[in-house]
């Protein structure tokens, strides 16, 4: 098993078509939705997106998120 060559981006690619939770840097905000596409910069294309912000929910539909402003990406529990 050669761990060093399994890239973190591969984990995110494996989540395409499933539901993910994206935490935004510095803002206490999360976006949850279906991962449509992702690239090497961790730019994210999601649909059915819901913003969770300190207890409030807002439907955003389709969004593209700039990768550098993302703190974490995880499968939705």
């Amino acid at each position: 098993m050669v761990n060093g060559i399994v890239l973190p981006i591969k984990k995110v690619f494996s989540l395409v078509d499933s539901r993910i939770t994206v935490e935004i840097k510095d803002e206490g905000r999360q976006l949850q939705g279906r991962l449509v596409a992702v690239d090497e910069y961790l730019n994210i294309h999601m649909d059915e997106t819901v913003e969770m912000n300190r207890g409030t929910r807002r439907n955003l539909g389709t969004v593209v998120i700039r990768g550098n402003n993302i703190l974490t990406i995880a499968p939705t529990a």
Copy 2:
């Protein structure tokens, strides 16, 4: 269907000539307007731009937005 090779940037390219909403990182501000051009860094050239900031509107006309300071790009609902 090979999801991994459909890039997020393609979604944004598909919005050229239509109206988009750009959310600025950290600022609670949105810019709405017509997408004229976009590049791989998500730098945005918009015209007919209106800034929406906590209930106030301001006409900005033509602007170029630096991609790294953009949080999300979405079609205007």
Copy 3:
């Protein structure tokens, strides 16, 4: 008309030698002046620069601005 290949940077190149307004990220500050040179990172070389900061003006003369800290570039109205 092939919009996808007209880059946002081309808009900024077209403003060389004319007056521009540069909005700085997070700071409520604008720099106005004559655009001398710009590169692909949106690094800006301006002269005759005036800083506008919440009603105060300050003459800065010649400055080079790091592109990543720029929010927007627009022709001065």
Copy 4:
């Protein structure tokens, strides 16, 4: 001994499969877990992740962390 060609990233590669502590920029938060994979941008794939935030602990499971928002990476003491 040719120090200049031993890259910092090599130190992080050596921590794959062991427990690390990642400090997030600006947030007073740490993520601890097992390092699964890392790339040249210091993007991190961790599992068994626990968030430590001013005395509170939260289990996060598997996460991918965007490298530019990481301040430090260290072996967990």
Copy 5:
């Protein structure tokens, strides 16, 4: 006169060996000193550096400044 190909970085290269003022992003701080070297990322090597921070001065001697955290570079007036 072909403005488009005169890069902003050339302005900074022309300041090597002379005194410059570097304004740090978000911090209300300036570093003044002699520019020893600069690269394409606007990383700066200065010596005889003095930090100016809201009326206080501090001698820093030799420093290397990471380019992305620089807001502006200008010749010291």
Copy 6:
């Protein structure tokens, strides 16, 4: 003397194996220690690291610091 081609990174390479002070962006914090390795992004591998934060000291041992979050690097006085 061809200043333009002496890169700032060379100054940092020259500090490998000696003691450096790294100032973190936006945080009023400094890390002091022995520079083990550095790369072109100014990612830093240090050991014997001590954090200095508004009068308090904390031993960190070995850390890797992401370059973009570093404001300055200097030889420890």
